[in-house]
Symmetry: C2
Subunit: 210 residues, 2 copies
């Protein structure tokens, strides 16, 4: 069966808990590698180059774009954010499943360039829970919450482009579901064409009396 790792894209609303889910996946199962993005924004206190982000100058980043060194990238406000190819490809080749936490624009770039990628969208069980989680954080003012809700509303337009929608109601259950969705994906026929051909060739040779 398929030995190469899987490219997995995880998106979700702010407040969906996707960050925690991904940390749990990586902590529990050694098959997962979490990709680190590159960015031109300045490091915040406590951020370490190569851990939170690879910090790049605009010139370095644009040079990498030139060299087609990203699986996806985007510009938000005045900064670039992107996923460097090398780490992703190395991990996939080594048989690890690479998880990218990216927003919908990046997710759709990935889907176009790598149709074999698996796209998961994480959501709270309903809109009111999502609102309550955003409000409940208590860290943002009303205007920011409204902005986030408007943004969530915008993001929700693209959910159908994802392969699976996962409801994060119970963290424990959700981690197990995500893990099993990702691992089951490896049984897809289109990912096992050489295995199928081997069986086919074997049967053909027997039928010929080999």
């Amino acid at each position: 069966m398929e030995k190469k790792g899987l490219l997995v894209v995880v998106s979700g609303f702010a407040g969906s808990g996707k960050g925690t889910l991904m940390k749990e996946l990586v902590k529990r199962y050694k098959t997962y590698a979490l990709s680190v993005s590159a960015t031109t924004r300045n490091p915040r206190p406590g951020e370490v180059d190569g851990r939170e982000y690879y910090f790049k100058t605009t010139e370095e980043f644009e040079q990498m774009i030139e060299e087609d060194a990203f699986v996806e990238y985007a510009r938000y406000v005045n900064n670039y954010y992107g996923t460097p190819k090398k780490y992703v490809f190395d991990q996939l080749e080594a048989g690890n499943d690479v998880i990218l936490e990216i927003e919908i624009q990046g997710a759709l770039q990935i889907q176009k360039k790598f149709p074999e990628a698996l796209l998961l969208f994480v959501t709270p069980p309903d809109a009111i829970t999502l609102k309550n989680r955003l409000v409940g954080r208590g860290t943002e003012d009303a205007a920011t919450i409204d902005l986030r809700l408007a943004r969530a509303s915008e993001e929700s337009q693209g959910i159908e482009e994802y392969d699976y929608i996962v409801v994060n109601d119970d963290l424990e259950e959700c981690v197990l579901t995500m893990h099993s969705i990702i691992q089951n994906e490896k049984y897809k026929t289109f990912r096992n064409l050489s295995f199928i051909n081997e069986i086919r060739d074997g049967l053909k040779s027997f039928a010929k009396g080999d």
Copy 2:
């Protein structure tokens, strides 16, 4: 999330153990309903109408074809075999997952008529194991085994049309994998459009300040 049951088609080589797998699924998980086929062939000793098959006369069967009462049917040699719609639809409506064990021609009919059906193909780990299992039964002569191998070779041409290929190396593992593939399918975005729309409408109303 999706409440309706799933239509699941299971095919596989003779010797793949698909019959045992399906019996285990139905025995362990009450979500599964095994569909009983209709046929015009004569009952064999011990077979009970409505358990192994619904036994029909050719006239009755052809009447049902006229009435579009089958999800799929086929004629082998001089007999008809088919899956009656009523039972399948009733079970799906009740939220049960209906498993049909049918051959590739029937499976492709289902896929065309019900694109939302899930198609699984069960295989031994490799061609030599398949051959050994057929030989190992010790119940067939060499000519019959050759015929079965030729038939398996023919069937293997259609495997890519299935969604998943499941290797039955270890029965216990395979039952769990099949169960989890089927249940995860319910998280597919295209199966949850009304759920997605609810979230979307909720977010839109918050953004409007409702």
